[in-house]
Symmetry: C2
Subunit: 80 residues, 2 copies
């Protein structure tokens, strides 16, 4: 059993209204000095087997097909 | 300027219907051997100043107050 974490973040230049809202909310709560906030997603997956290279290529395919929208998002895969 | 990443994940035992849906979708796409999938959130923040200890305590307060629901979620802070 391989545990992996996939992190999906918006590409630079893509507007992030959710991040902007968090920025505003942090300011309203009195947190000063907070610059840009950007929100992304994280997926913790369990993959059967013990072949890390195969797991990584499978995870890459999962990101391309489902987990990330590669037009506007980047993804990183880290295998524990 | 300090860059930090906050990762918010569901605590063990908390149901994650979104993760379950992704699990089902990956199976439907033909990816076999995918076990549990859990989805979380990631926040990339920029904090002004250069005092990492202060930034970390500020970020902890932000997590407790806004970024995470500590009843059902865990958070981790990593400062670049």
């Amino acid at each position: 059993m391989i545990k992996a974490r996939v992190t999906v973040t918006l590409k630079n230049g893509v507007l992030d209204p959710q991040g902007k809202a968090i920025e505003g909310a942090l300011g309203a709560l009195g947190f000063e000095g907070v610059g840009q906030v950007r929100q992304g997603k994280v997926f913790d997956l369990e993959v059967e087997g013990s072949d890390k290279a195969k797991a990584e290529s499978d995870l890459k395919a999962m990101c391309e097909k489902l987990l990330a929208n590669t037009v506007i998002e980047n993804y990183t895969i880290s295998i524990a």
